[in-house]
Symmetry: C2
Subunit: 697 residues, 2 copies
Amino acid sequence: MIEYIVPIAGFTGLAFAAYLARYVLNQDKGTQKMQDIANAIAEGANAFLHRQYSTIGKLAVIVAAILAAVWYIAAPENKGAAAFKVGFAFLTGAAMSAISGYVGMYISVRSNVRAAAAARKSASDALTVALRGGAVTGLLIVCLSVLGVAGIYYLYSALFGLGKDTPLYIVGYGFGASFVALFAQLGGGIYTKAADVGADLVGKIEAGIPEDDPRNPAVIADLVGDNVGDCAGRGADLFESTAAENIGAMILGILLFPIAGFAGILFPLVARALGIFATIAGLFSVKMKEDEDPMKALARGYVITSILAAIFFYIAVKIMFAPTIPGHMWLFASGLVGIAMSVVFLYLTDYYTSDKYRPVQEIAESSQTGPATNIISGLAVSMETTALPAITICASLLLAFYFGGKSGVAHGGLYGTALATMGMLATCAYILAMDTFGPITDNANGIIEMSGFSGEVRKVTDKLDAVGNTTKALTKGYAVGSAGLAAFLLFQAYMEAVHINIVDIAKPDVFVGGFVGVMLVFIFSSLAIRAVGRNAYVIINEVRRQFREIPGIMEGKAKADYAACVDICTRGALKEMVLPGMLPVLGPVLIGVSFKYAYGSGGEAVASFLMMGTIGGVILAMMMNNGGGAWDNAKKYIEAGAYGGKRLADGSKNPTHAAAVVGDTVGDPLKDTAGPSLHVVIKLLSTITLVLAPLFV
Amino acid sequence: MIEYIVPIAGFTGLAFAAYLARYVLNQDKGTQKMQDIANAIAEGANAFLHRQYSTIGKLAVIVAAILAAVWYIAAPENKGAAAFKVGFAFLTGAAMSAISGYVGMYISVRSNVRAAAAARKSASDALTVALRGGAVTGLLIVCLSVLGVAGIYYLYSALFGLGKDTPLYIVGYGFGASFVALFAQLGGGIYTKAADVGADLVGKIEAGIPEDDPRNPAVIADLVGDNVGDCAGRGADLFESTAAENIGAMILGILLFPIAGFAGILFPLVARALGIFATIAGLFSVKMKEDEDPMKALARGYVITSILAAIFFYIAVKIMFAPTIPGHMWLFASGLVGIAMSVVFLYLTDYYTSDKYRPVQEIAESSQTGPATNIISGLAVSMETTALPAITICASLLLAFYFGGKSGVAHGGLYGTALATMGMLATCAYILAMDTFGPITDNANGIIEMSGFSGEVRKVTDKLDAVGNTTKALTKGYAVGSAGLAAFLLFQAYMEAVHINIVDIAKPDVFVGGFVGVMLVFIFSSLAIRAVGRNAYVIINEVRRQFREIPGIMEGKAKADYAACVDICTRGALKEMVLPGMLPVLGPVLIGVSFKYAYGSGGEAVASFLMMGTIGGVILAMMMNNGGGAWDNAKKYIEAGAYGGKRLADGSKNPTHAAAVVGDTVGDPLKDTAGPSLHVVIKLLSTITLVLAPLFV
């Protein structure tokens, strides 16, 4: 009865998260000034989350009602039960996602000041605090997602009888998670980049004051933004990834039912549960030696997590599949493909976005001839960065399918792709911990800078901040890679759910469905980028107003009105997230329903829409994420001294650096708003089509 | 025997082109100084074309040999005939494309100085010379393309017996045209933008001298570039469009053979032939009233051409299909959809790229906060511009399919989409005339400026230059729209040729084929953009060297070494075009052959590769073309006085304008190199897969 491991792992993970949270909260909070700043950040983040969730909550209730109504009408029998199953699952998914986002954020905005305080002692102490703070979010998200899926599965089995089709009824959970994730990532992404661009353009460029300078009225909004974008936003993204992909894998598990019984359906849950143990062990193993590159310590922990995940995967395959499937070792091989792919993706992302390699250096070099050549070269690099990741996704998919097929089970190939996705997700909690490490160290650095520290402490937090930027970039690579790999899985789950076997793009309506799908991801990105521009514009005017109207602000005699910027940014982000957010929700419905009536082919047109939209979305997201990261690091490469550094020998501003700053600013909304939101869109397209399947066929 | 109209129209068109060429060459050539400049441009263009064609020629001979070998091996019987048919058609297509490019260019670089000379008399005279010069290229390309396809068709029918499968053997012609077009557009695009960016960055930004200033050593290279990029490049693009789409439509015509006999196969040729008459009439109708907006006169001519094309289309349908197909009026309706779509596309392109509307004005407005916000807003607009064109393509496709289906013929729907493409291409020669009008007026303006004219003449050529920029932008919209509409047609022709009926993207290998297809267009664009950057860098260094080493150059006392820049740019462009050029040639071969052996599914995987690559390519090309055009016109909008104009009241440079110049420079390689080259790539993917079909199945 290995499946009992699921609740055991889930609750163990939660207990461990609570332990880590306690550990972090017990650390020294630093000076009063540090605490004041941290409190301002916490308040701002809290206010944003509060308003954001209340907006999302209202929308979610409406959507739940519509969903229930659709299923009530479409279900051939037991109409009430069908409506309840989907509606309840949706609300549970939405609520679980919101809870994990909220609690994760609560810890993050308290870890930052404690990491800053620890930095006064040693880099190693600061690293530990920041990583453990991040690990709370990571564990919380993964455990709540696993417990949620398992809970609903067992609840529905108990209430409605244990049928093999149960996973089909809990897709609502995945859609609920996607729905919250879309708005969380979009709203958070718009918030963080509007504040960042706004603060930089007026502060750094117009007023000539450094980053994180307390005189800049938008500086707190900028620090809040890192939390709501990277922590709450990406957390919700990966919450839904794990949920949706888990459910998708369970649906494909139904295919194995005739041979393996419930093992195929439950295996994804078990694999994820074991991944939690691997992550806990990996997190404990991270000890940074003094003077060591912090990235090395984090990478060591990741390698340990991956190796343990592979071992646990092997054990689970042995226990669950050995009795019924003679070729079960091939299924293990499929899982290994996923684990290997996640490691490869981290290396590829590093290659494209680190200043140690050609792509970033090329952008830095071309900055010498001004901002135009910086942008041209950055665009070329952005597009180039889609190559190796796309090939990796394709190769992994074909390999996992091949291995799965060798197992000798009917549909083993498809199940192999599901196992690869589960393998990739096994280390998800560790990845999330590294991701949330980013905003915590970024904030710690800001707090240290605003509190007037200098010397060794500044160096420590600067270094950790740089590592945090790297981990954030790597996480995005991982997130988009998992989206790409999962696309095929979710697509197959959809086809299984609507009972179609082929998607023939040679039919004009199916072709058009795909065309519109690719278009949708471009329009969505356009709206997301524009939302940042519009919101930034409002912030810029507010900062300019404060510089103009508050006397003594530039001399540091009067205090800037941080709260006004936070408030404006919050309202702007929530307003701007609605239009782009509705697009991926309404798009598939429109295509599916209209093509159903026009051609009787709603299911197939939607499948093509989903598939091509996903391919286009994965490639566009990679382009924006990696390109933005490369621009960012090209600027940092110059700041570190290349091509003259920040200032020339005569003390004047280096135009090469100024050109690189333009590229960095352009990359911001791409890599932190549009790109990450596209990950969510891709998966939301899958969950919404899955959950609304009765409308299309 | 209406098909005799084909050679009649073709030779009439050629005769008319000869008449126009004579008319243009008989015009006044202006002052000696003007002639000197024009000669320098003509020499540079000639040198580039000569070297480019000799490179392409060598590659073409190799490819022809490989093609012939593939068909020799693959053909089940008559191996020699099969090899000859494909190889000879390929070389003919390549040669015809090269001839039309060469002759068109010969007239263009002689029309520019004559248009400049005429501008001294009146705007109307200058417009007439420039449009007639452009019309030579337009007619030449369309007539040679029609005569080539028809000639090979009749030749092969005579040599090998008139079988309904003859069109399948002349796809080599289309591939030959695609092959030349790819390198012509790519090499020309790299040349023109490297020269442009190089001349601007050193001349305008570093040295502070105006555009087209004779002191700038790269100024002649820049003027040459407009000819080799817009005239020879786009000419080759549309030569291959008309050829490939014509052949594709003829292949689909085979489907109608049981009912309509050869009428279905020959109709595409007849429709195109009648389009030539419509264009001749339209060109003659263009008379510009003094003080009229030149664009209005050109638009009037286009409307007349379109209406005549529709009437002729009706007549052709009546004569060819009325006897056998009772529902033939529905086929006419499909053709009308294409004609209407081409008009709609011109309006949409105008909306997205003209400074009269929101998108361009939005970019101009955001330039106020610097280059970063200009680029962010431009990227958002770029992505947005894919929406309405994509919807238009999809709607046209569905509508043409619907109408075709209503005709009651088996496969009428598919044939309807072919007729829509033919409808769209009916006005192609007029569009090409407007396109070539662009480089002619651009050059005329440059010649006037370099010859030291001022006052009224400058205003006239400035105005015509601006109109030329608009027509160039519109033509690109038309070219990508026709590529989008034709994609489905060519895809169906491919499926007909390889005898597969469905393309099921639910299979992992077919899915992966599509994924790689989308990736390919991104990588291709990356390489094309980078090639411009690299070549521009070389030009920048050469211009800097001349400014440094030639004493008196800035005072206008010493003459710049134009030839050196032209030579460097030529060598650079030819070197840089090879790598991106090989990608779309080798990509499908690699996918097709490897998947054939791994999965036995080469045909289907290639179909998916082709289809998704095309959708991705059309959308990416629209994004780059329209975005680049919008950036360009946002700059011009500011120069016309918005947001402070070029210089502020105190005479200092307006930073808003400087920000817009950055956007304009970024847009250059997108709209004039990568975007237009992608049109060709899309169609090349179709023709190469068609011609290499025996390798994949």
